[in-house]
């Protein structure tokens, strides 16, 4: 998606606000070495260390990843949509209306429109429903019979799409309104004449629909620009009307909206690294509904395999057609495309695919029942921890807001400093919020970690060991940061005048923030690369003995010199080295 690069540059960018939060895998792997090796040096000497390590502008630049997405506000969306329409209309010498219909048909993909149009204009015109000349011509007659109400009417009352089939304006209005009130399928509206495929575009809506429906239609059209576009998604935060535009296939799934909501652009659940989308969906479904509902949903509804909307089937045959504009046709039993069903694949009603899976499923079912008994306790264990981190995160967000709205100004006055110097406090809080988010998802990860099997026991014990090791580091870091941002800061807010050690405090807070961030980045990487990690036996030897049992044991022997040694002499061996290697 090279062509996207220029677009990203000129739009609203959130890069500056969230620079470090992205977990892009850059090549600066050595930066992380320090913090892995020193499992024990949890002493309070961050201030010194981090100045060298992180505040070095060169290091920052190299670490800052390129953002693979753009946040769009409603005006931006409109603008882009209009730009695309104008582009197509200019290149193909079509009216704006025709260009709109064409773009909608090809899911707002300008390149595809151009390609298709230039390869076979005739075919495109036919399938989209853009006729060059009218099929029916009633302009000469003084009267016409409306094809809907069957009234004989004077010609000034008639309207038609590009095909020319005449219907009276009242009937058009009814036809259009019914379709608009049925949902976004109205964007695909065609001429009422059954055999006619002529598209009914925004110009007809404009001319014939009442205000309320016009408004709805233009909303549908705007929404379609995001919803039908493979490269865009709405921000799922409640009340947020922004969207993100991204390059398909490019890099990171996590995006941050201007409303500061972080979410995964693939599944539009809140950001959930290191856990993958599938696990999150399973986990959320498990949490959001009690047993009864889960059963009901599992038994009565499925999601459309294409657009993922949930569907309840209450009548009719197995041949499902999703609501427009998705209109995907699939088999209810096996959820594969209906087109793949036929005599050759075993027929339409008794889907072979499904039956083969059922045979497998019967075996699974017995096992599942057995496991269900044990799983509830396990689930409760993980859920409680997941939920408590969730509420901690919300609490931290509240604290951050309160800090920004109340204490910041006070702190400025008391400590005689500028707002920009206090940026580190906001950053610290944002980091806390982010950490809680990661911690939360590690519990979902833990829940779905494969059960021990005989052959794999050793492997997973090791794996859990290494995770546990990162996990403890990360959690301890977070606790310290939280304490610092909450308790120690209070002292300075309530002080009578400027405190002499306020600068030291700032340095310490900045240091803690960045150290904690590194810990969490490492944790996320370790979890994401979990399976590849263990291939190296060297790593195995170094890490296993000290990981689960005594993460703090090799005391602060490396503590003092850490910062200065940093990049020049990355520690040999050790888990850190290995993790960095695999993450490249």
């Amino acid at each position: 998606m090279v062509s996207e690069d220029n677009v990203i540059e000129d739009s609203v960018s959130v890069e500056d606000d969230f620079d470090g939060d992205d977990y892009e895998y850059d090549d600066g792997g050595d930066d992380y070495d320090d913090d892995y090796g020193d499992a024990g040096d949890d002493d309070d000497d961050y201030g010194l260390v981090e100045d060298d390590d992180v505040d070095d502008p060169g290091a920052m630049v190299s670490r800052r990843p390129k953002l693979g997405y753009t946040v769009l506000q409603e005006a931006d969306i409109k603008q882009r949509q209009e730009d695309d329409i104008s582009k197509v209309s200019t290149v193909l010498s079509l009216s704006q209306v025709e260009a709109t219909i064409l773009l909608r048909h090809y899911n707002w993909n300008v390149n595809e429109v151009h390609d298709e149009w230039f390869s076979d204009e005739e075919r495109v015109r036919k399938s989209v429903g853009l006729f060059e000349r009218q099929v029916v011509d009633v302009s000469d007659a003084s009267e016409f019979t409306c094809g809907i109400c069957f009234d004989l009417l004077p010609c000034d009352n008639f309207a038609s799409a590009s095909c020319g089939h005449p219907f009276c304006q009242e009937c058009w209005q009814g036809y259009i309104c019914t379709s608009i009130n049925d949902g976004p399928g109205c964007l695909l509206l065609r001429c009422p004449e059954p055999s006619c495929k002529a598209a009914v575009g925004p110009d007809m809506i404009d001319k014939l629909a009442p205000c309320e429906e016009k408004e709805k239609y233009s909303q549908f059209l705007l929404r379609s620009y995001i919803e039908d576009n493979r490269e865009a998604k709405w921000c799922p935060a409640p009340g947020c009307e922004n969207a993100v535009n991204f390059a398909v296939g490019g890099g990171d799934f996590d995006v941050t909206c201007l409303c500061s909501y972080r979410f995964c652009r693939n599944c539009t659940v809140e950001a959930h690294r290191p856990v993958d989308c599938e696990t999150v969906t399973k986990w959320m479904l498990k949490n959001s509904v009690d047993g009864e509902n889960v059963n009901w949903i599992l038994h009565h509804s499925k999601t459309c395999p294409k657009c993922k909307r949930p569907i309840e089937k209450n009548q009719g045959c197995m041949h499902m057609t999703c609501t427009p504009p998705c209109s995907y046709e699939f088999c209810w039993l096996c959820l594969r495309a209906w087109s793949s069903h036929g005599l050759a694949t075993g027929g339409f009603y008794s889907c072979n695919v499904y039956e083969a899976e059922m045979q497998k499923g019967n075996v699974d079912a017995a096992m599942r029942r057995e496991m269900a008994k044990n799983s509830f306790e396990k689930y409760t264990h993980y859920y409680e921890r997941w939920a408590s981190n969730q509420s901690s995160r919300e609490k931290a967000l509240e604290d951050l807001n309160r800090m920004e709205s109340e204490n910041m100004e006070k702190l400025c006055n008391v400590q005689c400093t500028t707002m920009s110097q206090l940026k580190c406090i906001t950053e610290a809080w944002l980091q806390i919020v982010e950490c809680r988010r990661v911690l939360k998802w590690t519990y979902a990860y833990g829940y779905y970690l494969p059960e021990h099997e005989k052959t794999k026991t050793q492997f997973f014990e090791y794996l859990q060991g290494i995770h546990f090791f990162f996990f403890l580091k990360a959690e301890a870091g977070l606790e310290r940061l939280h304490r610092c941002a909450e308790k120690e800061l209070d002292k300075y807010v309530t002080a009578d005048g400027p405190s002499s050690d306020f600068d030291d405090f700032r340095t310490k807070l900045t240091g803690l923030t960045s150290v904690t961030k590194t810990y969490f980045e490492n944790l996320v990487r370790a979890l994401e690369n979990g399976l590849e990690d263990v291939n190296s036996t060297a790593c195995n030897k170094t890490v296993s003995p000290r990981s689960p049992a005594s993460p703090r044991s090799p005391t602060g022997r490396n503590g003092k010199g850490r910062g200065s040694r940093g990049k020049e002499s990355p520690r040999a061996g050790g888990a850190s080295k290995n993790v960095d290697d695999t993450s490249k």
Partner: protein, 170 residues
């Protein structure tokens, strides 16, 4: 409401006037309610129909039967499709065997207000002649057709036509 009445009234007059145009379809409006209609569909053999290939192949298993349809017309008609079902039992892949519900795209998402009750009847006759075993409501019937057991399908369908759609003899 007013528009739907006016339109139904026009269709009623058209039916009265054109009685002979479609001798196989008898559309009757309920005496007291213009939103309730019934139709009788006669499936006649090719020969009796004057050699016209109107109802599909002569080996249709519904031949000789008279099938009754019930129309419930919504107030939003013709913007919304009428609800149609078979009152006469029929063995057909796209008709529910118990309720008579019909699986036909023009009665669902492919409806257009330019269709009339008369043209719906014609579409149903076409459906009887050309079943769509790909989207079956009656799976037994669909399975027979899909597996290529034409004889099985024909004899089942013919039996139900005799039992339900023909006047009892003697």
């Amino acid at each position: 409401m007013k528009a739907s009445r006016a339109r139904l009234f026009k269709e009623y007059k058209e039916v009265q006037r054109e009685k002979t145009a479609d001798p196989d379809i008898q559309l009757v409006c309920d005496d007291s309610n213009i939103f309730k209609w019934t139709a009788l569909i006669k499936v006649v053999s090719k020969q009796k129909n004057g050699g016209k290939k109107k109802i599909g192949p002569s080996e249709t298993p519904y031949e000789g039967g008279v099938f009754q349809l019930a129309f419930a017309v919504p107030e939003q008609y013709p913007l919304q499709p009428p609800q149609v079902r078979f009152l006469t039992k029929i063995f057909h892949p796209n008709v529910h065997f118990k309720t008579g519900e019909i699986c036909l795209d023009i009665l669902k998402n492919a409806w257009s207000p330019a269709w009339t009750l008369q043209s719906v009847c014609r579409a149903i006759i076409a459906l009887m002649a050309h079943p769509e075993p790909d989207s079956p409501l009656n799976c037994d019937s669909g399975n027979l057709l899909r597996s290529g057991d034409m004889r099985g399908f024909q004899s089942m369908a013919r039996m139900y036509t005799r039992l339900a759609a023909m006047p009892k003899k003697g």
